[in-house]
Symmetry: none
Subunit: 212 residues, 4 copies
């Protein structure tokens, strides 16, 4: 019976990550401007001052959050594409969309992109960070996927810029409708239904057709 004196870990090296978790949840709920440092500290189970032992300022937490987002989600997406690409571009695209739909259906995961969406306008550095660390990498992924699909004879000539918007857009809107604009009364679309629906249309629209 270990008797944990604090609700959080006793490993001090985990502090920065714990504080970032708290910051993400506070930012997501209250917005960057609306989240008080004291609130973040309380959610992390530490004192106000302790936050400043690990982060220079409120804004630096935001940056750290974006970096962590890139490391985690984009990294996973890259790995997924890299693993499947050789086999079949169509199947890879389908997997990617399913992965995205699943991830973004988890409010804890979608909190970070929502945060960036909300604050990028205010903080050009955040926008630049996201552009370079997330969007650019996503663009590379899609470009590679297009090339592969065209080489394999599966996709017709399609602009990667368009495919990026076609893949990311519906997922993003879905995420927003499921969180920020959620209507508690109505059920909303199940994540896998959406993923399949999107994939069907996009692949139908993108694939080379037998005749026609």
């Amino acid at each position: 019976m270990p008797a944990s004196p604090r609700k959080t870990s006793r490993r001090p090296e985990a502090r920065p990550d714990e504080i970032l978790d708290a910051a993400l949840s506070a930012f997501a709920e209250l917005g960057f401007a609306g989240a008080r440092i004291e609130e973040i500290a309380a959610r992390a189970g530490v004192s106000k001052g302790a936050v400043y032992l690990y982060f220079d300022s409120k804004e630096s937490m935001l940056k750290a959050l974006v970096r962590r987002l890139a490391d985690r989600v984009v990294g996973a997406a890259e790995a997924l594409v890299k693993a499947n690409l050789e086999a079949d571009a169509e199947q890879t695209l389908r997997s990617l969309l399913t992965f995205l739909a699943t991830q973004l259906s988890n409010p804890a995961v979608s909190a970070a992109p929502r945060l960036v969406l909300a604050e990028a306008q205010r903080f050009p550095q955040i926008a630049a960070l996201y552009r370079d660390e997330v969007i650019a990498r996503a663009m590379q992924l899609i470009t590679k996927l297009c090339q592969r699909g065209i080489e394999q004879g599966t996709f017709r000539e399609i602009e990667p810029q368009v495919l990026l918007r076609l893949c990311a857009g519906p997922m993003l809107v879905h995420m927003l409708l499921a969180t920020v604009f959620a209507d508690r009364n109505k059920p909303g679309l199940a994540p896998d239904v959406l993923a399949r629906g999107i994939a069907d249309v996009v692949l139908n629209g993108v694939k080379v057709r037998a005749a026609s």
Copy 2:
């Protein structure tokens, strides 16, 4: 004998709208929290106190802004659909996408949805307003369009929820990439190229096919 002391109208009944214009530009640039009332007043060419003659609070300006957005853009979209629907669902969808792409390519127009995106999380009332006044009406439009397309034998069975995401998503992402995350160095996609690209894929994906 002109000598206009202010750049704008002397018609006092235009004041609220002028202040809203100023507020939108300030909010878009600085964020809701970052825009000082004094800044908005200065942009509108009035004094800080005058703002409070027309609006109860900063937040009430945000609400008024969303209402105006709904009145203008959604109203126009509804008119467009209503005018064309009987004729041809495919062509209507294409027109709608072009209309959206054109509108959202104008930063002055896209400022409002971007603002909502940024602040909806913080202000549930704003989110609710947007959901009821913009999203719900857009959903109705799309639903009608689906029904009509299916009736006309042009569309295959498609979930309106999916079509909404497929139409709004790419446009939204495009707008974000063109504004918030714009990379000054790179050119970006031309609005009409995008509109056609999206329409081609979506319609290809959505249309009933001759054979298969």
Copy 3:
């Protein structure tokens, strides 16, 4: 019987000066770091926020204070010297010392130089301001006085730098002993006794002697 609603003036244009008076008294009593803005505001009879309508920051009040000191005391000393110099250098020096002794005996006047003494180390800009606006002008005064005395055959060759220290030093120490290090129990030296004592020795030491 006007019934003054506030303890201070009703002339808003006097505010900056009133706030500076309050700041000087608070700084003198509590030190720059120890004086809270709220305390200064209270002494000026205004709110905390009002202070920031007139001054950018706490430090800018310190600078304004030094400028005012220069304008007032150094200006008066310059006028005094200018008015008397032609007549008699010895008498001018005596008047100057008496003027200084009288001024510095007034705690309200000496508060400003004491403040500079206390804070100049911390704030190089303050030190520079005092050096340029007060010390340099005092040095010019003394130099002129030396020249004139030597021309008139009253003073022997004396370095103005030395005379500056001989005049300012005893006055400064006296002021410190009368304020900061005052021993309430002991009486201390009367200002005019001091002025005459210093003048006698300095002039004796400085004057050309009949024989020797």
Copy 4:
């Protein structure tokens, strides 16, 4: 092959003095309020916590500093006067002024009085300590010197209070001009030139004259 991990002693009994050295240098540079305990600890080569093993609080370091100042400089001055007084009051005064000028020209020595000057206002206890341990003892010295000079027929009747101000004042002003208000561009007065200049005038002014 000792490999001293810290630049200073390993003798723990020297710690308090080392910390005081660090505190003096930090206070002199940053002011009492501006010097963080962590900064002092770093300058002393110890940890923040270690400082509190030797001193109760920041303020107690200030007090200890003043006591050390009295022990060292005033003690030396007392010894100097005691050693020379019997012989010749004039020469003793000259030696005393030279000693003071030399000591105060050393920024490491003058740091302590400068610190007291800066902080005495804020900390009445410091002012009292300085008054009792430094000023009072200096006053005794000067008084003795006056009496001796008058007995020897060298000095005319002079108020010790005045002589104290005449001796300490110019030195103090000189020190301030050479440190706090130093103008890097201009050369400033050499210490021995000053000492002689002051001594000449003061002694000329104080000595009994042959005729006149």
